[in-house]
């Protein structure tokens, strides 16, 4: 009994000095890029079938539940990172972890390139062109050190390199959900807290407005 108490005490005392873990184990180094380059979308399609990903994410990667993400047409690097983060438990979701826990990195890459190859969601025709929202999207807010959303997510919302995801055509509710997760610190896999800083600076009204903008932006607008 005493040994157990000692062991627990020692471990408790040692843990703060162990150093915090990185927020994601994924780095876009040559090895990861090679993994993605060698991935096979056909194998990915098979894995999606056996894994029944369509239950939440739809047959074509477009989900029916607006709180589930549309993954069709997102960049393969972004999908891969999120899957790996789920697998490494850097991103917390029991459902996702259960779905992919038996897969290895190569299979995650296959899934990623499969879903990346699918056509992205077509947005609803009504658009939120509120001036305050447009200003945030294209100019940001220097007072709060908010950069334009478009600087990382692209002028047409189709995303940037590696882990700068597409936002256009995403579900409004999912976007609000994600921003709130960053805000509360429930989602922490944005390396160097890049999105957490943004989400903390935005107001709830602004988050809803931006979600409405991106959920209805036409993806093929002038770049």
């Amino acid at each position: 009994m005493m040994r157990l108490i000692t062991l627990c005490t020692v471990m408790a005392l040692l843990s703060p000095t162990a150093g915090a873990e990185p927020s994601s184990a994924v780095a876009f180094d040559s090895a990861t890029l090679k993994l993605l380059a060698d991935a096979d979308p056909a194998r990915g399609e098979e894995l999606a079938k056996t894994g029944k990903c369509s239950k939440c994410h739809g047959d074509a990667g477009i989900s029916e539940d607006p709180e589930d993400i549309n993954i069709a047409g997102m960049s393969s690097s972004y999908i891969f990172k999120q899957l790996k983060d789920y697998l490494d438990k850097k991103r917390d979701s029991r459902d996702m972890y259960k779905s992919i826990r038996d897969l290895d990195a190569r299979q995650l890459a296959d899934l990623a390139v499969w879903y990346a190859s699918l056509p992205p969601a077509q947005p609803a025709p009504d658009r939120n062109m509120d001036r305050a929202v447009l200003r945030l999207v294209f100019k940001g807010d220097p007072e709060r050190m908010l950069k334009a959303c478009a600087s990382c997510h692209g002028r047409n919302g189709r995303g940037g390199q590696f882990d700068h995801p597409a936002l256009a055509g995403q579900h409004r509710e999912y976007l609000v959900l994600s921003m709130n997760e960053f805000r509360e610190g429930d989602r922490e896999n944005d390396i160097y807290a890049r999105m957490r800083n943004v989400a903390e600076a935005l107001t709830e009204k602004e988050i809803k407005g931006l979600a409405a903008y991106y959920a209805t932006v036409v993806p093929d607008e002038a770049k």
């Binding site: 915090a20 050190m145 950069k147 600087s151 002028r155 390396i191 807290a193 890049r194």
Partner: protein
């Protein structure tokens, strides 16, 4: 001596004088800069240290929980930051005035540059290499770190904040 070596290439005495003035000017300017370089240790950032930028957040020095301002035993400060499209992280740092600081910055992606208007803090941030600048902030106030090298379409938006505060008695 009465023999002017420039005679061999320059016939006109006035022009010869001007040629001497030009040469002396060049050497004096070089000399003054050399003197200050050695005497005041005024050198541009030149530490030649490599790092794998593609795995930056997995490194020890530029891990997420190692960024920010830290005290050194000799009373100076080390500011560890990352430049990544499109911001400098951590986005707000606070430093006491009149304290020697060493800025260590690395890029997680492409070429960046950073300067702080109103101070002499400036350096390129080159992927694959660590940048190190030694300086001291002599005025309190709010300053901005601005990216000054084209790093992509969001380059205009890349900046962060530096706040220089009064030196409290016990330091950081």
């Amino acid at each position: 001596m009465s023999i002017d070596p420039l005679r061999y290439i320059c016939e006109d005495p006035l022009e010869r004088k001007w040629a001497w003035i030009s040469l002396i000017l060049a050497f004096v300017m070089g000399g003054v800069l050399g003197f200050y370089a050695l005497a005041s240790n005024l050198h541009p950032p030149s530490n030649v240290e490599t790092i794998d930028s593609s795995r930056l957040h997995l490194s020890e020095e530029f891990a997420e929980d190692n960024l920010g301002v830290k005290s050194n035993p000799d009373g100076s400060l080390t500011i560890t930051m990352v430049a990544a499209r499109y911001g400098f992280y951590p986005p707000r740092i606070e430093v006491p005035v009149d304290t020697p600081v060493t800025l260590r910055m690395a890029s997680a992606d492409v070429l960046h540059g950073v300067h702080v208007p109103g101070t002499n803090m400036t350096t390129m941030v080159v992927p694959g290499y660590i940048s190190e600048v030694n300086t001291m902030f002599t005025r309190t106030g709010e300053f901005s770190l601005l990216c000054n090298e084209f790093c992509g379409l969001g380059h205009d938006h890349m900046w962060s904040r530096l706040v220089v505060v009064e030196n409290s008695a016990g330091g950081q």
